[in-house]
Amino acid sequence: MAALRSYPPLRSTSDGTDELARAQAEVIRLGKELKSFTYSVSHDLGAPLRAVTGFAEALQEECGDQLDATALEYVNEVRKAGNRMRVMLGGLITLANVADGPLRLQDTDLSQIAHEITDRLRETGGERDVTVVIGDGLRAFADPDLIRLALVQLLENAWRFTSGRAGAGIEFGRALDGSFFLRDNGAGFDSRYKAKLFAPFQVLHGEEDLGGLGLGLAIVARVVHRHGGQVWAQGEPGRGATFSFTLPPGPRQHERKLQS
């Protein structure tokens, strides 16, 4: 596992360029160390976690008849906590992969990806009456795998936060300024916490109510930032949320942006 080291502070020199180059090299190295740290933490934790949930299940299956109701309930709590941790670990691994992998930019059809994700949600997301509107021909010059990851997080969030609401609605479209938006009329959030939304492990709603685990929006933000775009959110408690992001519209603009 990579250790996180501390580095001496920058000193001012007559010629600042050496210091700057050194600082840049250190930032790159720290970034690499942090990535490999996250990677090994998330992978090395997998085996003990599998043991916790695995033996809890073995206990239930093989010794269940020797346990009373209270004991069985405790075993069940162990399994539930283990499963929550597994989802969090999966999110951490995804987050690390988003930061790490190569960016494969190409003309990407966001509408089609959103339709595919919605179809899957309708199959697996339980009996729900949700109106989903997806704008036609939403395209960007982007990495389709990463975009899919971000849209999965956004659509799953919208799906989850509109549960228990009559006339639930989700809309994915493009605003006049060219930004993409995903809007729902679900639980919403207090805009005072807007800045915290995109940081890892920030959960505004109680975990138990809505099942959020605090990594989805961090993944969205990282995907968008890797494309050089911006992401922001608007919402009000009980009145839904809108998540917006920008992506480079085409290869030419994108190249120009990278060169400048």
């Binding site: 992978h43 090395d44 997998g46 085996a47 003990p48 976690l49 599998r50 043991a51 949930t53 695995g54 033996f55 299940e57 073995a58 283990g82 499963n83 597994r86 670990l89 999966g90």
Partner: protein, 171 residues
Amino acid sequence: MIEDRTADILMIQEQPVEILLVEDNPSDAKLTIRGLVKSKVANQIEWVKDGQAAVDYLFCEGLYADRDPAMPRIVLLDIKLPKMDGLEVLERIRKDPRTSNLPVVLLTSSNQERDIARGYALRANSYIVKPVDFVQFADAVKSVGMYWLLLNTPPVLQPRRAPARIKPLAV
């Protein structure tokens, strides 16, 4: 000759090892064995905890000099192992004519592209990333066992010792 044939008879009675499990993590090993036994895929599983022991077992050396020389039908091999890592074990298996065709399934927590590429370059028969979810893990173990022990036709492996020249029995 007589001793050899006695050994053959004993071997059948003792039931040969079906699976060699090379795994340093005792929890994973126990869960793997439980999955295989519970799904009735295999009963005879030999578990060794490091790469050197795996090589010793397969080539009947060291602690295993006197073991029944029959080869397991499949090796489940972890990559991150003490003493000698799994990929080095695989390399040794492939280099030796006695085991060069032995089915080896890499069962590992690493999904690093470099390990996957090296595993296949060394002719691993499968590469399975252990799911963190226990139910999926148990399913994976069961499927691997079913496929390699029940569905797959195994290669004919050469015996451990150079084959003795036996005259055909006169009938």
